[in-house]
């Protein structure tokens, strides 16, 4: 008997259909209902669950009452195992977080959730990174990489994961700053990482998933870097699961989030902010920055590593910026260029064009970067 959990954010995606951006915040929700929006997060959860019907007899689905999951599960043809209670019809982030905390003790193989970036953030904040999770998209704006591309894909991934045919990858939880967004300024923050099932055939079509290829690519990149690294040079590593693993292969400890700096193999600055980095540059002219793609959108600067500010970038110089990525992550972009949004258009322009991306040992890709 496999047990999974489902948490639905019933109002996610509310604004999109009626032309509003996002749906967090009570006023936006009111406005959306006024415009005739009907929540469809629940429907999308149902669509994903229907893919699992063949496993029905072996599957126990834990979920929240009412429109936070129970309805979606029933509509998919399963008998829900309802846990907890919700206080009112208008569910909030608190309800989501409370549900997560309850579910963490229930020995779940996987926690499914429906919503948008906000929901992903809530799941993470409540400790969701401790268990495997997967998002079923229902919101308009999704920058987080923790979501499947659509409900059916989510269903397939869950099935593959439960059959031990998929592996877990760390995926970014991104959060758009709401207030800034409505003012027309786009800015986001890398909140953290969730463990999400990954099936290579979706991206690659390979015959079976294998963790070996992911690790060997990163190992190759680490080996590549190792051969280029010189004593006396400071190496600034941006956030991300790739950079964390690469640092690990190089024998250096690194956090998932945050920017860390190393000198001769030693950590000299942990979770550095802009001024710390500028300070380091002042005393040591030889600096290289190593970053990877953040999020599923292919951003190199500006989404989750803003500490590496335009000033830092200009001082270090384009020549000393190394971008690393596994080939899989690049191909997930489906041909769309990488992009930068440092906040300084002049700096952005310098970073544009084709840059070499280290994709393995002795392997590089020339990929386009736009602003």
């Amino acid at each position: 008997m496999k047990r999974i959990g489902l948490i639905v954010n019933p109002i996610a995606g509310l604004g999109g259909r009626v032309g509003l951006k996002g749906s967090d915040g009570l006023e936006i929700q009111q406005r959306a209902f006024e415009l005739g929006a009907r929540p469809h997060a629940s429907d999308r959860a149902t669509e994903a669950l229907k893919c699992l019907l063949s496993m029905k007899s072996d599957l126990d689905i834990l979920t929240c009452p009412g429109n936070m999951g129970e309805i979606a599960v029933r509509q998919a043809g399963f008998l829900p195992n309802v846990v907890g209670n919700i206080l009112s019809d208008h569910t909030t982030a608190e309800d989501t977080k409370r549900a997560v905390k309850e579910f963490l003790n229930k020995d779940l193989s996987l926690l499914l959730f429906t919503g948008g970036d906000g929901t992903a953030r809530d799941i993470y904040a409540a400790g969701g990174s401790e268990i495997p999770t997967l998002g079923i998209p229902a919101g308009v704006k999704i920058y987080s990489a923790v979501y499947a591309i659509h409900p059916r894909a989510a269903g397939e991934l869950v099935m593959a994961y439960l059959r031990e045919e998929a592996v877990l990858n760390l995926a970014e939880v991104m959060d758009v700053d709401e207030e800034e967004f409505r003012k027309g300024r786009v800015s986001s923050k890398l909140y953290g990482f969730l463990k999400v099932p990954y099936l290579q055939r979706f991206v690659q079509g390979a015959k079976a998933a294998s963790p070996k290829s992911l690790f060997s690519a990163l190992e190759g990149i680490a080996k590549n870097l190792f051969e280029r690294m010189s004593p006396g040079t400071i190496y600034i590593f941006g956030p991300g699961s790739s950079t964390q693993l690469i640092a690990k292969y190089l024998g250096m400890k690194k956090n998932l989030l945050g920017v860390d700096a190393y000198l001769d193999g030693r950590l000299i600055a942990s979770d550095a902010n802009e001024s710390t980095l500028l300070g380091l540059l002042l005393n040591n002219p030889a600096v290289e920055i190593i970053v990877t793609l953040i999020g599923g959108q292919g951003c190199i600067f500006g989404r989750g590593n803003q500490q590496i500010s335009p000033q830092v970038i200009s001082k270090v110089g384009k020549k000393n910026i190394l971008v690393v990525s596994t080939p899989e992550k690049l191909n997930a972009l489906k041909g769309h260029p990488l992009w930068v949004d440092t906040g300084d258009y002049e700096v952005d322009k310098i970073l544009c064009g084709y840059i070499p991306i280290i994709t393995g040992y002795k392997e590089y890709v020339m990929y386009k970067v736009t602003a």
Partner: protein, 528 residues
């Protein structure tokens, strides 16, 4: 009695075949036969020899003498024959299917006359080390075919030694390496540039030859971007390895700009001509600025694929690079043909002897049956067939051909079923497996999948309009099935030799069984 032919049509369109692949449920050969049975008897040693020699094993240490006989099958001759005929029937070659589905492989007709000629004893019973006066015929074939390739490509010399395309690419990389070494620049020049839509071997072989590989991704139109090349070129550039047209079927119109830029940086340009079928007699390697090239004789030149070889990757170079070619070359002094080992800076041997002679013969015979006009017709019809099929496939719901929208393609197209996947949840490789239920192949793409849910089709010039119509009808049928009943497609095949295989043991060291003896050893442990 009804009209048989009329019954094959519904509303004027031919029905799909009621195909079922041969299915013999054939045991593995080890499960056949009985102890003591013999498939063939070996010539006996004469008494005169035996009595003189005595013990033939004398002097061979005990540790070197075989103690336990190998556990090979013991089967009578007719049973061996039947067994292999059965499994041969369970294989779909060009000889029996509309093989347009194996894109990039150029699955054209291998004329039977050429196979017969290659089986003449005047070829099969030649030892490669025979005195040259006794092999003038085969040397002449090698030489004549080389002249043909020189004309087709515009380059100056060819070797038939490499054992297929990848070996040829490696040979080219090795020549590039030797060239830079001779200029004293090999230490500095350690980078090879290629593109993501070239064959994976372009990257892999360059790496084995010791180079770093820089892969260019295309621009939004699917063409390799000149800006990407410019960013990649430096004084470390040893060379460019590129296919044109690429595996998407798109010809890069800026190719001379590409080669010029690489030359300006001091690098060499090598042309992977695996995709030559659409441009024979239309355009050449030389004018495009290439210093090296290779042709796959088993693709463009019709030699049979043989389930994966043997084959020849004929490799050509310009005059400047002749000193680096593998030895020997086949030369003609006006009176006789001979093997020339006097190549001053040769990279040495790529393989034993000189190349797969039967393949060279078949390729030569193929060209000689066609001539210049015929080759031109091959290219033009291959391209016409491809654009015809393109139109039919694009009319199928869920299909698209990314890049170069609205433009013509050369000899193949990489399609995408991304839309079909989004609407039905059926993946491209699942469609392909269902296509096997109708007696055809279907190939997705090399990895990584840059084009999502890919499908690469290459009609070649060998199939008729009716056959192309049939193939398109099969694909259309399968795509429609995906919309109507995705589960049906996902659980295919039903009419093939076997049903869906369980992939997962293939990646688990505890479970994989690469041979029968491994299977016997592990089968007990594997849960049912």
């Amino acid at each position: 009695m009804n009209n048989i032919t009329a019954e094959r049509y519904t509303d004027g369109k031919p029905n799909l075949r009621r195909f079922h692949q041969a299915c013999w449920d054939e045991p593995i050969i080890f499960e056949l036969g009985q102890p003591g049975q013999r498939g063939i008897l070996v010539p006996e040693v004469e008494e005169g020899i035996k009595s003189q020699v005595g013990d033939p094993f004398k002097g061979i240490s005990d540790s070197l003498l075989r103690k336990d006989p190998p556990e090979l099958p013991e089967i009578s001759q007719p049973a061996v024959l039947r067994h292999y005929v059965h499994i041969s029937q369970e294989t779909l070659g060009v000889d029996c299917n509309i093989d347009v589905g194996q894109g990039t492989c150029t699955m054209k007709y291998s004329p039977k006359i050429n196979d017969q000629l290659a089986r003449m004893t005047e070829l099969t019973e030649l030892h490669p080390l025979q005195d040259e006066t006794t092999v003038q015929g085969i040397l002449e074939i090698f030489w004549r075919f080389e002249q043909i390739l020189k004309e087709i490509s515009g380059l100056d010399r060819f070797t038939m030694q490499p054992g297929a395309g990848s070996a040829a690419i490696y040979t080219n990389a090795s020549i590039i390496r030797a060239y830079h070494a001779s200029m004293g620049e090999l230490d500095r020049r350690d980078e090879i540039i290629t593109t993501i839509f070239s064959h994976p071997s372009d990257a892999a072989c360059a790496k084995v030859a010791g180079f770093k590989v820089i892969t260019l991704y295309p621009n939004e139109d699917g063409y390799p971007d000149i800006e990407a090349l410019k960013a990649a070129i430096s004084d470390r550039t040893a060379g460019l390895l590129i296919t044109n047209p690429e595996d998407t079927g798109i010809y890069n119109p800026k190719i001379t700009e590409f080669t010029r830029l690489v030359h300006a940086a001091g690098g060499l340009c090598s042309y992977d001509q695996a995709n030559a079928n659409g441009i024979l007699g239309i355009t050449r390697a030389r004018e495009a600025g290439f210093d090296l090239c290779h042709f796959n004789l088993h693709k463009t030149f019709s030699t049979p694929h043989g389930c994966g070889g043997p084959a020849v990757g004929a490799t050509g170079v310009t005059k400047e690079l002749i000193p680096f070619l593998p030895v020997p070359l086949v030369d003609f002094d006006g009176e006789k043909y001979y093997l020339n080992y006097d190549i001053p800076n040769s990279i040495g041997k790529i393989r034993p002897f000189y190349g797969v002679a039967p393949a060279v013969l078949k390729a030569y015979a193929w060209v000689m049956a066609l001539g210049a006009e015929g080759l031109r017709e091959v290219a033009e019809i291959a391209v016409l067939n491809n654009n015809y099929l393109l139109k039919k496939i694009l009319a199928i719901r869920g299909a698209s051909a990314p890049y170069a929208k609205g433009k013509r393609r050369i000899e193949q197209v990489r399609y995408s079923w991304e839309k079909l996947y989004e609407e039905t949840g059926v993946h491209s490789d699942e469609l392909g497996i269902r296509a096997a239920d109708f007696g055809v192949h279907y190939w997705t793409s090399h990895h990584p999948y840059v084009v999502p849910e890919p499908c690469t089709l290459e009609p070649t010039e060998s199939y008729s309009k009716e056959e192309l119509d049939e193939y398109a009808a099969i694909i259309e049928n399968v795509a429609n099935e995906a919309y109507a009943d995705p589960e049906l497609v996902k659980n295919a095949p039903y009419n093939s030799t076997v049903h869906t295989i369980d992939h997962y043991p293939l990646d688990d060291p505890q479970q994989w069984c690469i041979t029968w003896r491994a299977y016997k050893r592990k089968a007990q442990q594997i849960p049912a």
